[in-house]
Each structure stands twice: as C-alpha cells, then as structure tokens.
C-alpha cells in the first residue's frame, strides 16, 4: 500500500489500511470507546466516523463507487440518528421517528452480523495457520506407475492449440466496471453559508415557512444544508419552530435570543465540514 508509515499518533485516522470497510471502522470505534455494540453512544461514534471519512478524503484515498456509497449510507444513517437527538426529546410517534429507529436497528443488526463474521474469520485464520504446519504428502508418481497411464490421445494441430491458448489467455474477469463520479459532482454546499442566509431573512422578525426558506434552494443539497443549518440554529436557540398540524407547514421564527448570533457560532463539526468544502471548491 502506498500509505506513508503510520505516525505514532493515536486514533484511527492513521491506521486506515487496517480497516476493510465501514463496519470495520465502526466496530473499531466502538471498541476504542469500550462501548457495548448493543448500546453504543451514537453521537460519539458518529462524530469519529465522519472524521474518519474526512481523513480518508484528505489522504486522497481512491474509493470504488460502491465502497464509497457504503460508507455514505452508514454515515447518513448515523447522521440521521444524530439529528434525531438534536430535536427536543419527545414521544416516538410519527413515522419518521419510527423509520429512524428501524434504521438504527438495522444498522445494529448488520453491525452484529459483521462482528460475528469477523470473529469467525479470526478463528479460521488461527486454524489455517495451525494447519499450515502439516504438509501433505504429494510426491511425483513413481516412474513405473506413470508408465501405466494410458497413452494420451492428442488431436490438436498447432493452429487449434494456438486458438485454445488465445482463448485461455483472454481475461475472463475484466476489472469491474468503474462508474465515474465526476459527472455527479455538485458544488459543495456550506451549512454555515446557508445558516447565514437563513439568519439574514429571519432577523427582521417576520416568521417564514420552511417551504419559503427553501423556495430558492434549487439543488437538493442546498435544501438539506438549510435543514441542517436550521437544526443547528435551533440548538443554538436563535430560531423556534411551529407546526400547526402534523405534516403541515413548518414555520420558522427568529427568537432574537442571541443578538450577537452569527453563523460563526455554528458547532465546530459543521465548521470543519464547511472548511473542507471550501478547500474542495478551490481545487
């Protein structure tokens, strides 16, 4: 592997090659925090998982499409769950909450399954090592037995043989088709910038619906970023939500709690993300 030798710094970021997939990373994080897999503190692990993915990107790791998507699926699930925690604690009633719980259970189940296979893989490795100490008797047939073998029937002309060789030498399993991601590239969206935009519109005191706030969003990524920005702002208690009926319009109101609030106050986590997003834009 073209990795530089791991510096002695702690954490998982420096030992990327030790992990063989997202579950592996998650399990590593869980055991690092000495957490029981069945009751992992999601927030802690989520933060580190996201950090791990960023580290991968910074190191310029080339990802196969489906590997990257697996990481993203898990990261998204963890983020969802974390987002659920940001909301005020309430009864689990609506469909989204139940879906979140299902997602969590599925993630746990998959993680448990992976853990089991990882464990038996370890057992198998031990057995293979142990068995490698026994060498089977596998000696050339004694000449007088070899002489007993029936005379070979050979009907191939050199040309037929060459055709056979050509067929045999043709790669059967060509490299798995790689789907380019370039065309999917969307400009990175900064949550901080979106928070700034939302703040500017709400500061005047007129409540706006979420629908109105995202009316000019255009790309889905911007909608998501604005939603995440709102969650962060809600946590910072600069906005409040009102919803008259389930699935009805969500009204967002500036609480004016913090006069000196600015998007710079956003949690460090999203700040990091934004920074990284900017770097990408500059490249």
């Amino acid at each position: 592997m073209a990795q530089p030798p791991a510096p002695p710094a702690p954490g998982f970021e420096v030992r990327l090659e030790n992990f063989t997939g997202p579950f592996d990373v998650l399990l590593g994080l869980i055991s690092k925090h000495q957490l029981d897999i069945t009751e992992i503190a999601l927030a802690t692990v989520t933060d580190e998982f996201i950090k791990y993915i960023r580290k991968l990107q910074e190191l310029g790791e080339e990802w196969a499409l489906d590997e990257a998507s697996e990481f993203l699926v898990i990261a998204a699930t963890l983020l969802d769950l974390k987002a659920a925690r940001l909301l005020p604690a309430g009864e689990v009633e609506d469909a989204e909450d139940i879906a979140l719980l299902e997602a969590r259970d599925l993630l746990f189940a998959r993680l448990l399954q992976y853990k089991a296979f990882k464990h038996v893989a370890g057992l198998m490795s031990d057995t293979l090592d142990l068995e490698a100490k026994s060498f089977s008797r596998q000696v050339a047939l004694e000449a007088h037995f070899a002489a007993l073998l029936p005379e070979l029937v050979w009907r191939h002309t050199p040309e037929q043989f060459a055709a056979l060789a050509a067929k045999a030498l043709t790669p059967k399993d060509t490299a798995a088709p790689q789907v380019g991601l370039e065309h999917l590239h969307a400009p990175a969206v900064s949550i901080k910038e979106q928070a700034e935009i939302i703040g500017r519109r709400l500061r005047h005191g007129v409540p706006l619906s979420f629908r109105a706030l995202i009316a000019d969003a255009g790309a889905t990524a911007v909608v998501v970023a604005r939603f995440l920005a709102l969650l962060e702002m809600f946590r910072d208690r600069v906005v409040a939500f009102e919803q008259a009926a389930p699935l009805g319009d969500l009204t967002v109101r500036w609480t004016g709690h913090h006069e000196d609030w600015s998007s710079e106050n956003l949690s460090e986590e999203y700040g990091l993300r934004e920074q990284h997003g900017r770097e990408q834009e500059q490249q």
Binding site: D66, R110, Q113, A116, E131, V139, D173
Partner: protein, 218 residues
C-alpha cells in the same frame, strides 16, 4: 509377492503378502495426492468399507504412537505398534484420507518443502472467505452486503487460490454463486463445512435478518 492365492477377504492374496492388507493400504496411501475416500480405498483393496475404516483408524493411532491391541483389529492384520509417534500422521480431511507430516516438525519440513507453502490471507480475504463458508452458495452481492464493501477482487483472489469456486448461477437473479472447495477443507483440516464452528454463539438474535437482506439487497 510370495503366493498368489486368492483369499475371500482381500484382493489377490493380499493377506499372504508381507504386512497383509494393512501394508497394502499403506502402499496405496503413499501415492494418494488428494484425500482418498474409504470407499475408494476399500474398492482397490477388495475389502469392505468397514474393514478399511478399521485399518485406517488403527494406522492413525499407530502413527500417533499408541499401542494397538484390540483383538478385532489384530484380526485384520495388525501387529503391536511402536510406542514412539512417527513423524507423519494419517488424517481424515475433506472427506478422505491422506498422509501429512506431523505439525511438530513444521519448521524442519518447511525448509525442505518451499513450494507448497502459501502466503497468508489478508484480513479482507479471510472475512470474505468466512462469509462464503457460512453462507454458501452465496453471490458476491450478498457477501458485499454483509462485509459492507465490494468483494469482487477478493473473491477473484480466493478463486485463484483454489479456496472458493463457482457454484452455478442463482436461479432468480442469475448472479454467480460461490462455495468453498475441498482444498479449503483440506487447508482447514476438516472433513466438511459442517465441522466449522457454529456461527450462532457469535451472532445474538440474528434470526430475522436474512429476510431483510434478501428483500433489500438483491
């Protein structure tokens, strides 16, 4: 060979030759280059499978250094065995019998037999092999789902190394299914995959998950 009398319980007077049927069995084991089943051995020696299996068990004990004394074993041609274990052993792997050097001497033998030595499997290869072993026949997509990463190149390596093989196509999805080979059993030193340690103790309450995968993934 001294006499050529045909005896009822042995091919062409095996009993009359030095060492009897037991020695004939040993002679055949010397040229076996993949595990030979009791049935194959019984057929070539012209004795019953029960007799061969008794002989095999006797040889196994004898090579291990146990003194063989059971009267029924004596009856089919056993002498009193040496008390010291031999440098080789007879093992029942991958459904058949084969001679192996004793593991105690791996370091010494390893210096002579360089070629048969295989490099160790990577963590990714081991995990993939484990999933295939426990879920066979299984598609690559299914293995990917369990491991969370693409396994195409790892499966290719395992196939090249003879540990897994193509087991036909899935009737529904048409995707290639994989299973472990008898070489895998040999390398694991087991007679069949049923001897793999149970997965369930490592897998609490997983019973329902299979369906979930099948619904969501394939």
């Amino acid at each position: 060979m001294s006499e050529a009398t045909q005896t009822p319980d042995g091919h062409a007077g095996l009993e009359a030759r030095p060492g009897g049927v037991r020695a004939a069995l040993e002679a055949v084991l010397m040229v076996v280059d993949q595990p030979a089943t009791s049935e194959e051995l019984a057929a070539v020696l012209d004795v019953t499978v029960a007799v061969v299996e008794e002989l095999l068990a006797g040889l196994q004990r004898e090579y291990g250094g146990y003194t063989v004394k059971a009267p029924d074993v004596d009856a089919v041609g056993f002498a009193v065995a040496s008390a010291a274990p031999r440098g080789f052993e007879l093992r029942n792997v991958a459904g058949g019998w084969r001679i192996y050097s004793r593991a105690d001497f791996a370091d010494v033998v390893g210096r002579f037999v360089l070629d048969g030595q295989t490099s160790r499997l990577t963590q990714a290869a081991l995990e993939t092999l484990a999933v295939i072993a426990y879920r066979q026949p299984v598609s690559r997509a299914r293995v990917s789902a369990i491991r969370g990463v693409n396994v195409d190149s790892v499966v290719r390596t395992l196939t090249q190394r003879g540990l897994v093989e193509d087991a036909g196509n899935d009737p529904e999805s048409g995707s290639v299914l994989y299973r472990t080979t008898s070489y895998f059993l040999e390398r694991m030193g087991i007679a069949s995959v049923a001897e793999l340690p149970a997965l369930s103790p490592h897998l609490p309450g997983l019973d329902g998950i299979e369906e979930f995968y099948d619904a969501g993934r394939m």
